[in-house]
Assembly symmetry: C2
């Protein structure tokens, strides 16, 4: 006898929508840290964020239904921080510090909602744009990316049978667990989940986080996803992002200001956060340029997060710089988080082991690696390089140069101007797959 | 919000037992074919069946709780054929023939129940024995094996966490699907599930059958498991087993009778079944001896199922014999079912392709291959070589010689007598893993 629970079944069939983002905490922790600072220092800056699909061959507007996309974005806009969520943010310790978020900020969050969006179809792609106060538009980055990525996954699986999906997930689980077993052989590993933005789906990210927790124990230090950190009693992990130097650079009145922008960001940050949160993201306008002009006090910061140079070269460059500044790298921290996967984590770990403290932020290749898993022929489950970047601040264009020209964003003429100011030293083009 | 259906949960917690065998159709099809004939020709023969664990290193009585084993065996004894099941047996066509089972036999089945069992613990093993009319004891073979095997699987998984089990099954699914994909490259493959007796568990066998159905389409011709064949609208597959020549040999009054027993079985069989059911199982007392003395009419049968010789050598031996008898092997059928797995199926298929009709019965390595799948260290999920054999008929000892001395069963002195009668030609020892 098969018993069917009629009430449950009827209830399930009544859903108009299976929401992808169900909580405003389903975002990256660094967004909240940055938001608190931005609200404090730049409450009146207007910033526009835009979705950019760097994988042009995938024509998202032909894959994802516009009405579904709008329904998901609208649903995200209907969310508010829940009472339990705010109590947790206020009462929890982050990075060892109680009351990381001020009562004033928590009170402000209670009224927060995501601002409006503009959506157009242009040449097979979606143009998705968020205009308004930086304090609001910045919060769209993660949910917008998670929504578009999961809608793409859902589209790829839409007409597949139950059995095919069963095999798909069985293989993805087996594949991830192979990686976890390899990682478990690295005794001093420190690793966290950075996979929210490009995840296959929310439930899958949750499974991945559980797998790391089970397989790596204390070597898995937490998740950048605030909701999963709360639900699984993990640390919320993250520091800051390129949008800070990008906006401050865009607002610079002259070239001297522009040149100083990356360091002003650090001053602002250190007024708000200490210890392990003092992690430099050096590559917004090229790491070589950043290091060359960096004031000595930058070497007092806890660590660096090289985010677009190859990990070993990027790490060596920073270690040399610490040594030049008379600092002992063994007391310093390097966070590797750019497109890492099992091979590059192992290689980087082995290369630097004993020479520097290391931490890995494992993103897309953790939460969206279904390559070779489908029992049907498809490339539609392969991850794409989708970002949501600030494109202007107070009406001025925002630019990112990066150490890898393939990751540069912004108006081409403006990119040329930045290159004149910061130089091209050390930039090496490499393919961007995720 | 997580909704818990309180009624379902309470109901689930009320189960005293999670029954392994829930239907008398959860058995191999050949048992029903043989039963109909045995009831017709040998209704008064008493036959004793006994469980034999050839993997002595696994001390089953230390692994499986005796009370649980008794509860499962008792539950199987409480079963009757259901009305729907009897209607299906009566109304379905098997091997292209309507009314395979006579109305008289179906009526008799309606009152059938499994007879009593005797269970003792001896030196770390269970001595499980079924005494009574052959028509009843023979029906214990498959449920007894399925119960002991699944209880062993359950014991191996008892204290494992939900996550570990999730990874275990994910890997087992991925592993099986790799095999299915390899099989899908054999265009003329004919394959069926023979994995009931040594399955990991009933639900897992069902998943395996669904996997073959999905991945191989019409090349998967069906299952030996009658219940799964009914539920999944597949063909029920199977012919006959060693118990027929073993019982008839045991009953032989003299050595001439004994020598003739294997051919008398075939006469009996062909009085009851035709076409593709006329498949010779030649190895009960050695294939070489069987072929040497076989009357010409045996070459008119549809095919052979070599069951203990290595598949390629065993197949070649039979092909040579057909050719000596002036038959064209391309019109004949070989069924390979002895410990087959993906490598040996591929090798055998490629070796014989175009020279003979072939069919594969895939058993233990289909439904119980968890080797390398557990995320914890265990050998307790590896399959063992467990059989349930007839050991005596009307009080006389029953013997199987087999082509592989490691698969011989019976009293050693009696085995020597059989070897004098049938000879030792062509017997080669090989390890028996499943």
């Amino acid at each position: 006898m098969v018993y069917t629970d009629i009430a449950t079944r009827t209830y399930n069939h009544n859903w108009r929508l299976d929401p992808i983002v169900r909580s405003l905490l389903d975002t990256d922790f660094y967004k909240l840290l940055m938001l608190q600072m931005v609200r404090h220092l730049y409450p009146h800056v207007q910033a526009t964020f835009e979705l950019i699909n760097r994988t042009r061959t995938v024509r998202l507007a032909e894959v994802i239904d516009e009405a579904e996309l709008r329904a998901q974005l609208d649903h995200a806009r209907s969310l508010r921080f829940g009472k339990k969520e705010l109590i947790w943010l206020a009462g929890n310790s982050f990075y060892g510090k109680a009351q990381m978020f001020s009562p004033d900020f928590i009170a402000w969050l209670a009224d927060f909602r995501l601002p409006e969006y503009e959506l157009h179809r242009v040449e097979g792609q979606y143009e998705l744009r968020f205009e308004g106060p930086w304090t609001h538009t910045m919060m769209w980055e993660i949910p917008a990316l998670a929504i578009v990525n999961e809608l793409r996954s859902r589209a790829a699986m839409k007409d597949r049978g139950r059995f095919a999906l069963d095999v798909l997930y069985a293989r993805a689980k087996a594949k991830l667990w192979e990686k976890v077993e390899r990682l478990s052989h690295l005794p001093d590993l420190v690793l966290s989940d950075f996979g929210t933005r490009r995840r296959h789906g929310f439930l899958w990210q949750r499974w991945c986080v559980e797998a790391l927790k089970e397989g790596l124990g204390s070597r898995f230090i937490g998740s950048s996803n605030v909701l999963l950190a709360m639900d699984a009693d993990l640390e919320a992990i993250g520091t800051n992002a390129h949008e800070l130097p990008m906006v401050l650079a865009a607002l610079a009145e002259n070239e001297a200001d522009l040149r100083e922008a990356p360091y002003r960001v650090l001053k602002d940050w250190s007024d708000h956060y200490a210890g392990n949160l003092r992690v430099v993201l050096p590559d917004a306008f090229g790491t070589a340029a950043f290091l060359e002009r960096a004031p000595d006090w930058v070497a007092d910061w806890t660590g660096f997060r090289p985010d677009s140079a190859p990990p070993i070269e990027g790490g060596e460059q920073i270690i040399r710089w610490w040594q030049d500044k008379g600092r002992d790298p063994r007391t310093k921290l390097l966070i590797f988080s750019d497109g890492m996967d099992i091979d590059s984590i192992e290689a980087t770990y082995r290369h630097f082991h004993g020479r520097v403290r290391m931490s890995f932020g494992w993103g897309t290749n953790l939460t969206n690696d279904f390559r070779g898993c489908a029992p049907f022929d498809t490339a539609d489950l392969d991850p794409i390089s989708l970002v949501c970047k600030v494109v202007s601040a107070n009406g001025r264009p925002a630019v990112k140069l990066s150490d890898n020209p393939a990751k540069a964003t912004g108006d081409p003429a403006e990119i040329q101007r930045y290159l004149r100011v910061f130089g091209e030293a050390g930039r090496v083009a490499a393919a961007v797959s995720v």
